[in-house]
Amino acid sequence: MRALNTAATGMMAQELNVQVIANNIANMRTTGYKRQRAEFQDMLYEHVRRIGTQTTDQGNILPVGVDLGSGVKTVGTPRIMTQGTLTQTGGDLDVAIRGEGFFKILMPDGTFAYTRDGSFQMDAQGRIVTAQGNLVQPGITIPQNSSSLTINSQGQVSVVVSGSTTPTILGQLTLTRFINKAGLLPIGDNLFTETPASGAPQDGVPNTNGMGDLQQGNLEQANVEAVTEISDLIAAQRAYEMNSKVISATDQMLQSVVGLYR
């Protein structure tokens, strides 16, 4: 019976749904994390009696046909790229983006990755790096004997060098945006890379062309909402159970068929 396979696709889809929800909940407190959602679509239909076929010589046509579907498939797990809430941390090198852009990060292999996680650090040479030690682009080196590091909303980084009273501008942080942010490929460590689906990266100065501005001393929280995730989890679990009931009902029906022959 087809119902066995149909219900099996339903169970697999819901299992994947629970996996996605579990990952969202696990990353509830991850800086710059964007929640994912499993999207499903129905699978092929067998048109046992096709709509619109002629049934009599007088030209009567079938108003409805018999369409038997074959289950559900997962079509994607798109990321919902909405703005997360900002929390104040007070850290000099904690920067949150309020808008569309991403920070550009130089990976050890020379390629670029992009992130919304602005919890930066300083390495031994005074350069601004991510928590994994990868360089934030464009590279900015903070001199040793400096104080009051300021990153303004336009991304300008300035410090006061000891012995001077006026701040010195060290450089300008840039942001990158994509026409389809949801098409970026997640590679872990809060990083994304460019794909053919995301479109080419466009670099720019914060606060222009919809890049968004920078907020020093803040971090962007994950955009996961506990209530939504839990209610989705309940729905997924119940759907899983119902599909398993279909399998056991089909099994019972098959048993009664087997019992016919003694």
């Binding site: 048109h47 389809n180 019992g259």
Partner: protein, 255 residues
């Protein structure tokens, strides 16, 4: 073969198809924009099969046949997602999607933007506006979709100028039952069924329409089907026992 067995068989065939329909509905319990299917049965009079072994007026035999599956176009529950590219349709309208096979219609409003800036479905098929696909520019932000389907964005540098990127096309059908389901929560219109522009329906942004499958209804239907199937099986069993006994008893010639 005995007629009772054949009638029972016709019932079982129909029940197993109905089970397929119910299984497909339950499998799509969480599919955005999915519309449930229901089965319809009809009494089927066999022109030649008659029960006339006894001297009573002819009794015709009633077989059962599944005549069709109809789509339940009731609106599904709305789920707020907060994603600016999720839309749901309030009313009977459908979105128009351009696929390689031609125009298709859907209620699934979980949209994406592709690398060319076009508004597309999860499959990557462009959603049609009044004149072709809706294309967003690279510097667009703050996408807002108004109830009439107009897509407005804030464009350019620091300006607050809004510009329109097109209007999502909504269509309705006089007889939506004639639409045929295709994979990917799409519907196709058979020959002779043409869409008319929809002026009644409204687009809601930031929400998606969930599947309209009602779990409780489907579960009760499932119980009904599996019990009915077993009942018929028992009936067939008894019928075959009857035969067995008849053969056994009649062949038992006293010596």
């Amino acid at each position: 073969m005995e007629n009772a067995l054949l009638i029972g068989l016709s019932r079982q065939m129909v029940l197993s198809r109905q089970l397929d329909v119910v299984a497909n509905n339950i499998a799509n319990l969480n599919t955005t924009g999915y519309k449930a299917d229901n089965s319809m049965f009809e009494q089927f009079l066999m022109p030649v099969a008659r029960e006339n072994r006894f001297n009573v007026p002819d009794r015709q035999l009633n077989f059962v046949n599944d005549r069709g599956t109809w789509h339940n176009f009731q609106p599904g529950a709305l789920q707020q997602t907060g994603n600016p590219l999720d839309i749901a349709i309030k009313g009977d309208g459908f979105l128009v999607v351009q696929t390689p096979d031609g125009e298709r219609y859907t209620r699934n409003g979980a949209l994406q933007v592709n690398a060319q800036g076009q508004l597309v479905t999860m499959d990557g098929s462009p959603v049609m506006g009044g004149s072709g696909p809706i294309v967003l520019q690279e510097t667009d932000r703050d996408i807002s979709i108004s109830p009439d389907g107009s897509v407005t964005v804030v464009e350019g540098a620091d300006t607050q100028t809004e510009s329109q990127r097109g209007r999502i096309r909504l269509v309705t059908f006089d007889a939506p039952q004639q639409l045929q389901k295709e994979a990917g929560t799409l519907f196709s219109a058979p020959d002779g069924v043409t869409p008319t522009p929809d002026t009644q329906s409204q687009v809601m942004q930031g929400v998606t329409e969930k599947s309209n499958v009602n779990g409780v209804v489907e579960m009760t239907r499932l119980i009904e089907i599996s019990r009915a199937y077993q009942q018929v099986a028992t009936l067939l069993q008894q019928q075959s026992d009857l035969h067995k006994n008849a053969i056994h008893d009649l062949a038992n010639v006293p010596s």
